[in-house]
């Protein structure tokens, strides 16, 4: 009895060798029914199309095994049977398209502060902006690929430090971060006007990937947190 069962399994496998297989007509019928059906089918419906006394469940299990390694699987949903694309191939069924979107004002400000003041922590960004920065804003910037997590500041709370990535330079057409205009140039361009406190300065930015003395490397979990793009959470 055990031999018979084994034989059957073998028969199924031998098909993958390209050999002609002795599959029962019932299997073909099940296959065709499941394929053409507009909704999952229950065993009773399937049995109605098969000779009386057919072990529908047994055949379905066999079919399931046969398809297990294929691009399409026989699956059971809510007690009914259907064919579905293998889970690991779900990516085939998606098509990505890009939609141009403008960054929010908050995101642009934050990006600029990261660019000029890197490595910079969220608290430092908030101090410059004078408002709290939502997690969404930083997530969007991480998603753009322009901002990256650098490390952690050696300070109470060990806050994450942010910096710009290479994609930042290429997007904004900068050869190096030092091409960002300094205070005089900003004034010259009319972007900064009027009197400013004497101590006001614009830092000379650097995106040197080497960690600073006050930075620790990131921990394994940090990147996961940073790289998971939030689904469409955009700060307006």
């Amino acid at each position: 009895m055990g031999n018979v069962a084994e034989m059957r399994v073998i028969v199924g496998d031998s098909e993958s060798d390209g050999e002609v297989v002795q599959r029962t007509e019932e299997m073909r019928i099940l296959e065709a029914l499941l394929f053409a059906a507009e909704e999952p089918l229950d065993e009773k419906t399937l049995a109605a199309r098969l000779p009386d006394g057919t072990d529908v469940r047994g055949l379905l299990t066999q079919l399931q095994q046969e398809y297990a390694s294929r691009g399409v699987n026989v699956v059971r949903v809510a007690g009914k049977w259907t064919l579905r694309t293998a889970c690991d191939l779900a990516w085939l069924l998606t098509r990505e398209s890009t939609v141009p979107r403008k960054l929010s004002r908050a995101a642009i400000e934050t990006l600029a502060i990261v660019a000029y003041h890197q490595p910079v922590t969220r608290a430092e960004i908030e101090e410059i902006r004078g408002v709290t920065t939502s997690k969404g804003t930083l997530d969007v910037l991480l998603e753009t690929g322009w901002v990256r997590l650098r490390g952690r500041r050696k300070a109470p709370g060990r806050p994450v430090t942010y910096g710009t990535a290479e994609a930042f330079l290429s997007h904004f057409g900068l050869e190096a971060l030092t091409d960002l205009p300094g205070l005089d140039e900003l004034k010259g361009a009319g972007l900064i006007e009027g009197t400013l406190p004497a101590e006001f300065s614009v830092p000379v930015p650097s995106d040197d990937p080497a960690l600073r003395d006050d930075e620790d490397p990131l921990e394994p979990g940090d990147l996961d947190l940073g790289l998971v793009p939030p689904a469409e959470r955009i700060e307006e």
Partner: protein, 276 residues
């Protein structure tokens, strides 16, 4: 030609939904060519060997019969009848060259060719319809899994956006920081708690400044610490828990915890401290 033959293929003339039926023939023929083809089949010979003359006779007889029955015939049939009558006369007469150069034989052959072509197209149409058709004999996937479109935002910003955002933010920040930094003040309660803790049970005269030094973290805090601790000291003296004295104005202030029996005061009056 009789009425039975007239009803030939009646059932084939049914028009499908949405199709306006042409009044081509009350008996269901698909036009004169169809009728000719039907008559030709009755000759039971290969279409290649068909006698056009005989066919013309049959057709004309059919038309006569229909007329006798007062059946309304579409113009197509009458045109064909006229043409066949002409062809018949040509075929029966000795052949003479015509201005068009088309002999009666050519005309007959052309008609035979048309009949063959119609028959051929009918045969292939049948073959086509006998093929397994989608949704009739063969089926496609009943539950196709549609491709989901994932719209990825492609973020855009210009360098100008970036710089102007930065500049205006920094400018705003600089202006808002012109306001005085918030002064840190040592409250009376804090001072009192500190003095109580510091002087504690020390019954020796100690200069107040000495205690306070512990707190003078940075010079900017000195005035507030001094002011608050002095006020707190006086309050503790009034409560009889501390004693304080000073040799002279602006001299260091000495403080000690007050015992049950007030011990002797050091040299020099101390009450002027209360006026300081």
């Amino acid at each position: 030609m009789n009425a039975e033959e007239l009803s030939f293929e009646t059932e084939l003339g049914q028009a499908a939904v949405g199709e306006t039926a042409l009044v081509v023939d009350v008996e269901g023929f698909e036009g004169p060519l169809d009728l000719l083809l039907t008559l030709a089949r009755q000759q039971k010979v290969d279409l290649a060997k068909i006698s056009i003359l005989a066919l013309a006779d049959q057709f004309l007889a059919f038309i006569e019969a229909a007329r006798a029955l007062r059946l309304e015939l579409a113009a197509d049939y009458l045109v064909m009848a006229a043409w066949l009558a002409y062809l018949k006369s040509r075929l029966l007469l000795p052949e003479q060259p015509t201005p068009e150069g088309l002999s009666a034989e050519d005309m007959a052959n052309a008609l035979a060719q048309r009949l063959r072509r119609l028959e051929a197209i009918r045969q292939v149409a049948e073959q086509l319809l006998n093929r397994p058709q989608l949704g009739r004999e063969v089926f496609q996937r009943g539950q196709p899994e549609p491709i989901a479109e994932i719209k990825r935002p492609q973020w855009t910003a210009t360098l100008y956006d970036l710089l102007s955002a930065y500049a205006s933010r920094r400018q705003n920040e600089a202006r808002s920081h012109v306001s005085m930094p918030k002064r840190s003040v040592w409250s009376l309660a804090e001072a009192r708690e500190a003095i109580e803790r510091l002087v504690g049970r020390s019954f020796d005269w100690s200069p107040l400044d000495q205690y306070l030094l512990e707190y003078l973290v940075e010079p900017s805090q000195r005035p507030t610490v001094l002011a608050s601790s002095f006020a707190a000291t006086l309050e503790l003296v009034r409560e009889g828990r501390l004693e304080v004295h000073q040799h002279k104005a602006f001299a260091p202030l000495f403080v000690r915890a007050r015992a049950e029996v007030p011990p002797e005061l050091p040299q020099g009056g101390g009450s002027d401290a209360l006026n300081g």
